[in-house]
Symmetry: C2
Subunit: 226 residues, 2 copies
């Protein structure tokens, strides 16, 4: 499995020049790549040529075992960077769960700039630290929580990361299998747990199983054990 050939990339729009820092400046000149659902951004073993920023959609970052089992490490939403903190080749794969857009940055160039631009270097460092914190939280969830706690925790984190202020509805923008592979469960357990939560009146499922209304956020947080 290989990432799609780069010739499907398209030229990015030039920004009007008022970018506020060098990361945004670089981003403004970067190419944008459109991805269909399930298309890969990059795969484990690929040479690491770019760092990406998600513009639209959701990118699942994951690792696989030799026998095909898959663990999703993180979902990247618009604004998130992926492909950081790597030296040689990718040790992870990244795949769009729905039609998405990512902005591509030459990794080597970025790092060259970071060497002289302390602000950019700090920004990259912070991004990696944040990723580390998120991964640790997921590890706690997967290692210690029950199915219902995991799903509740997932819904809450999705809400925090993607919902507009005050909005109580979230868009899953992924299949049950993606959620299952994030949480270390099966799709059946995810499905059953979601229906159980609906039965409890904590959430409501709409529109082809992809939109979720969080009816009782405090209760959901309680069910997640924070």
């Amino acid at each position: 499995m290989l990432a799609a050939h780069p010739d499907e990339t398209v030229r990015g729009t030039r920004a009007p020049g008022q970018a506020s820092n060098s990361l945004d400046q670089r981003m403004a000149y970067a190419t944008v790549r459109r991805l269909r659902a399930k298309e890969h951004v990059f795969c484990e073993g690929d040479e690491r040529e770019h760092v990406f920023r998600v513009e639209e959609g959701v990118i699942a970052v994951y690792k696989t075992l030799p026998d095909g089992r898959r663990q999703i490490i993180d979902f990247a939403y618009p604004g998130d960077l992926i492909g950081l903190g790597v030296i040689g080749e990718h040790v992870l794969s990244a795949q769009a769960t729905v039609p998405s857009k990512v902005r591509c940055l030459a990794a080597a160039a970025l790092e060259r700039i970071a060497e002289t631009d302390a602000g950019l270097a700090l920004k990259l460092y912070k991004a990696v630290c944040q990723e580390l914190a998120a991964t640790r939280n997921l590890l706690v969830t997967v290692g210690q929580r029950s199915a219902i706690e995991r799903v509740a925790a997932f819904l809450i984190s999705l809400h925090r990361r993607t919902a507009a202020e005050g909005a109580a509805t979230i868009n899953l923008a992924m299949r049950r299998s993606d959620i299952a592979d994030l949480l270390g469960l099966t799709i059946e357990t995810v499905s059953r747990t979601l229906t159980k939560l609906r039965g409890m009146g904590v959430i409501d499922l709409e529109q082809g199983a992809t939109r979720v209304q969080l009816c009782d956020l405090p209760r959901l947080a309680e069910l997640a054990n924070e």
Copy 2:
């Protein structure tokens, strides 16, 4: 629960002056703190004043849920740094599993130096990236592997990180409960799995359940699914 009061720290020995870089230089002048088994280096919520380097023993870095369940994020062995990649207060706790020694570095001072010393900054960055990679691997183990695969993977990683070249014996230097909380299992399952591995002739247990001989490393790797 709070970390032990700092007045139990002792002065570090001065290095003879041939430290090869600024991290080692700082380390040479840092104080050393001795820890008894189960003593804390720091706790979640403590102000982050130091970064530590393990000199002797093993430090378990962990997070807890409100109801007390504990997930160990990593074991830090001699040479490893802990307390990096944090902004304000600690979001993790760190506790010695056996009598240990850590070298204490003022975090603020370290970061001030890193601002001008690109080599040190890079070293810290690399350390965080490495931590991220290790945490991701553990996440895959906990999320996807069976009990026997988890234990096998743990033994292999312990061997890689601590065993001398060619040595086939490892020192657990921790209780079953620590292994269980790392792998997301119970102590009983860890114990049973270890006896099963012994029954299969892959390992041997000696000396009060703390030393493990890896009789058949290739087989163990196979059992771990890499």
